[in-house]
């Protein structure tokens, strides 16, 4: 009857903190922690878990992509998002990719336990701010208030990475062997999809997803 929990967070210290908070719940056992999304997938190849406490901002493969991979390859594993980010973009993305809940890192011990038990019982758990974020819709602009999730293409991901690395359009065009016009086009699509007004918004998105 023991729940096997894996923590996916870039900070190992955080896993220790979670262990401490679950100390008086012997049935909720943190069996291991991984620091990257890819690491988590490899771990799940070797071992089993009931629930993953998944940060959105993970190196190598972020929480959103990793959650999608888990739904495909390990559908029996519950994903409980565990992040400091409250933006609708991330909450929404995680839920669409299959997360059973979204817990903020500032949550209390009691909320942590409640969230884990809720998702293991087949329910959905949303922290208050995550719930508000979903209800409020996109904050950056007036567009896309439907909250519809639009994924980025591979090419768009490449371009936004370069942008966040302070590359100019010309440099990106050279690196991708396309014309500068194409890069501008991708940039335009990125801004529309992510509902941002400027490069600043693109950079913050890339940073949040550890794409830099």
């Amino acid at each position: 009857m023991e729940l096997r929990i894996v923590v996916a967070d870039a900070q190992e210290l955080l896993a220790d903190g979670l262990r401490m908070r679950l100390a008086d719940h012997p049935d909720l056992r943190i069996v291991d922690h991984v620091t990257t999304g890819l690491g988590l997938l490899e771990w799940l190849e070797q071992d089993t878990a009931d629930v993953v406490l998944m940060d959105v901002s993970l190196p190598l493969m972020d929480g959103i992509d990793t959650t999608r991979a888990i739904r495909t390859r390990f559908p029996q594993v519950k994903v409980l998002a565990h992040s400091a980010l409250t933006e609708i973009e991330y909450v929404n993305s995680m839920l669409i990719e299959g997360a059973a809940g979204y817990l903020l890192k500032g949550a209390s011990k009691e909320e942590l336990v409640l969230a884990i038990r809720t998702v293991m019982g087949g329910g959905r758990y949303l922290s208050e701010e995550a719930q508000r974020s979903v209800e409020r819709g996109y904050t950056h602009t007036d567009k896309r208030m439907d909250g519809q999730y639009v994924g980025l293409t591979e090419r768009e991901r490449e371009v936004i990475r370069f942008i966040a690395q302070e590359k100019t359009n010309a440099e990106i065009a050279a690196a991708l062997h396309v014309s500068e016009e194409t890069v501008k086009s991708h940039r335009k699509h990125l801004m529309t999809k992510l509902n941002v007004r400027s490069t600043a918004g693109l950079v913050k998105y890339a940073v949040d997803r550890c794409w830099v």
Copy 2:
């Protein structure tokens, strides 16, 4: 003979993790944790500490500014930087502002204890990557290899905050009641001081220092 340690980190969970890691060192006691720089200063008004484990990225007042304030107002308190950031800009800034060491968040239990004992013994402790960062100099460009720290002025801080918030020059100019040309001028100075090539670099800096 007990060392009083205060943890300043936006994530409370991290403080719990540190407590766990120091569990078998009864003389190293984490007496409290605060989640903002301002909160730390208020705490020090009321109580005493021997050492502060200070994250660079703190809300309200970041680790760099808070360290400067501590050196002035509580010079007897040792500051040990504890961050995930390894960029020379942050390592350098913390050391110049008076930090006695720079520890990475991925450090082991043993390194944590060593770092605390070193700074309490009057020494300076630098994590390997922090040491390399200092030696390597600025990474963004070829300029400022001397590693000299250049602080930002109040006005520059205001402007970089607006930029990271996706404001246009016209909007910033209106908000500050100056001409658009002045905003451009500040932007130029910011890029030179921070050694970045584009808005992307400015945004990342503001995000790292929790100025957004």
